[in-house]
Every structure is written in C-alpha cells, then in structure tokens.
C-alpha cells in the first residue's frame, strides 16, 4: 500500500522543507511514493529518509547508553543488596556470638562460683582433717605420757615397798618417792586437763562440721 502525493501536497512539502527545514519522518515515509519522473521529490524523500535514519541512529545510541547505565545501576543495586545482606548476616552472627558469649560468661560465673564453693569446702575439710590429726597426735602423746607417769609411779612405789619390806635404808627412796609422786600427781592433773581440753575441742569441731 503506497500513497502517491498530489501536486499541491508535493509543493507544500518541498516549500516547508526549504523554508522551515521541516521534513516528513517516521514509518509514514515508507509508504510515500514520488510521482513518476519527479526527481526533485525523489531527492526530497531520500533526504527525509536519511534524516529519519540519522535521528533514529542517534536515539538508538542514546537509548542503548541509557540501557547500559540502567544495567550497571541494576548490577550496582544487586551488589549493594548482596553486601547489605552479607552485612546483615554478619551482624546477626555477631549478635548471636555475643549472646552465646553472654551465656558462656554466665555459665563460667556459675562454674566459678561452684568451684569456689567446692574449694572452700575442700579447704574446710583439709583444715578439719589437719586439726583432727593434730588432736589425735596430741591425744596419743598425752596417753603415752600418762602411761609413762603411771609406769614410773608404779615402779617407784614398787621399789619403795620392796625397800620397806626388806628393811633396808629407805631415806633416799622415801624422799624420792614423795617428790616423784608430787611431780607425777601435778603432771597427771595437767595431762588430764590437756585431755579434757583436746576432747572438748574435738567435739566442738565435729559439731561444726556436722
């Protein structure tokens, strides 16, 4: 389907092109046909087509540039989005790690507190064990001393009785027995006092431990 231009339209189009530099453009050009043998109008149509193609080429170039810029912007936006997501993820992980650290700290505090309690209990046990050992040692010493005193007392008494029964000189043994018995009696009370003290201390300590 082609449109053949009338004489009047032809003249107006050529006039407008010459004076106003206005040319027909767009797809309409593709269906315009110059009158047979009209070289001037054929030349006009050729100029119109060239101008149209040039205009479209320029527009195409600009559009492609804009399209390219759009693509770059989209890529940059995607990259931003990706980085933001990464940051957000890292932030979440940090918060999670902080939360875990807080929980671990709490657990460590609890463990520390329990360890301190255990340490205190162990110290107390050790202390009481040492005291008990000391008291037992002291009791043993006192008992041995008591037995020694008793032994010495009995030996001296037996010797004194022997001297009396045989009628031998008993002056030295008498004073010795008397002095020794006094000493032994004094020491015995002292030892008994010590034993009582040790027993009292042991019983009050065991009550504390209970």
């Amino acid at each position: 389907m082609m449109i053949e231009i009338t004489e009047h339209t032809r003249n107006v189009l050529l006039e407008v092109a010459k004076k106003k530099k206005i040319y027909v453009e767009g797809n309409f050009l593709k269906i315009l046909k110059a009158p047979e043998g009209d070289e001037e109008f054929e030349h006009y149509l050729k100029i119109c087509k060239e101008k149209d193609v040039n205009t479209r080429k320029k527009r195409l170039e600009v559009t492609k540039q804009v399209q390219q810029q759009n693509k770059e912007l989209e890529a940059a936006a995607k990259e931003n989005n990706r980085v933001n997501k990464q940051l957000s993820k890292a932030l979440d992980e940090t918060e999670k790690a902080m939360e875990e650290a807080r929980v671990a700290e709490k657990e460590a505090m609890i463990a520390k507190s329990e360890a301190e309690k255990l340490r205190d209990a162990a110290m107390e046990d050790l202390d009481s064990l040492q005291k008990r050992t000391q008291f037992e040692l002291m009791g043993l010493i006192v008992r041995v001393a008591l037995w020694v005193i008793l032994g010495v007392g009995l030996l001296t008494t037996a010797l004194y009785l022997y001297v009396l029964s045989t009628g031998a000189d008993s002056k030295i043994i008498e004073s010795t027995w008397s002095n020794l018995f006094g000493i032994l009696l004094t020491n015995s009370f002292s030892i008994i006092g010590t034993i009582m003290g040790v027993k009292y201390a042991s019983s009050s300590n065991s009550n504390k431990n209970d």
Binding site: N27, K30, R56, R59, L60, T63, Q67
Partner: protein, 145 residues
C-alpha cells in the same frame, strides 16, 4: 518487509531500542510494543477467534520472562499457536540461552530464538534474511547469537 511487527517485552527501554533498530534496518511498516503478556493475550483473544479479518501482527517477538505478567513468553507463544490460531511468525527474544527453555519454546512452536544484547542489529539483519522462509513455515528453528 514485515507489514506489522509486535514486541512483547516488559522492558520499556528495549521497546525504543527495538523500534529504532527495526526502523534503521527497514524491517517493518508498523510496530507495536506491549509490556505485558496479559495485554497481548487480551488482544489476540479479541483478534483471532472473533475477528479473523482484523489486521493482525505478521510477526511477533516475545520476551522469555515478562515481569509483572501472569505467564511467560513460551506460554504466550503456545496460546497464540494453539488457542488463537496459527499464522504468525513468532519467536523468542531474550538474553537467556537456557537449553531447557529453548527446548520448551521449540515444543510450543517458536520458530526462532534471538539472543538479546547491546548489539541487536546484526541479529535482526540475519533474521530478516530468513524471514520469508519463516513466513512460508519452511525454515527450521534457529538461534541467532
């Protein structure tokens, strides 16, 4: 030269690129661009079954993924070919080169697949060289890279 050419693509900027490229290559007398497959579906539904004499597009280029539409380009081609009557030269224009999608397109009757890029003109020029064969339904499926 193609009488009426239609482009269905969600990227409006590409409408301008395509129209100018077609015009520079003297490909078509008239050009229509739609940004939604739903709109294209509505038009084809109106033209094909009810008004077979209506001026219909002679050739249709469909984008593969039409964002914001109810269905993609391959489904659009299937509808045009199988629901609204055959008779147009139709194919995909997309930046994708997915083999599975290309196979899908072939199955629904797409005649060509043009890879969309910054330098689209040489591909359209090649396409125009084969156009008459597509019109006669004698050309095999072809990918323009």
């Amino acid at each position: 030269m193609i009488n009426t050419l239609m482009l269905i693509d969600d990227e409006n900027l590409f409408h301008l690129v395509f129209e100018d490229a077609c015009s520079i290559l003297d490909m078509a007398l008239s050009f229509e661009a739609l940004d939604s497959s739903d709109e294209a579906d509505r038009l084809f539904k109106k033209w094909f079954p009810n008004d077979p004499d209506h001026e219909r597009p002679e050739c249709v280029f469909v984008d593969l993924n039409i964002i914001g539409s109810s269905f993609d380009g391959i489904e659009m081609i299937r509808k045009i070919n199988f629901e609204y009557g055959d008779g147009v030269v139709i194919g995909i224009i997309s930046s994708s080169e997915d083999e599975e999608e290309i196979e899908r397109a072939k199955k629904v009757g797409a005649q060509f697949w043009i890879i969309k890029s910054d330098d689209i003109e040489p591909r359209l020029e090649d396409f125009m060289g084969d156009y008459e064969a597509y019109k006669a339904k004698s050309a095999p499926f072809k990918i323009y890279r």
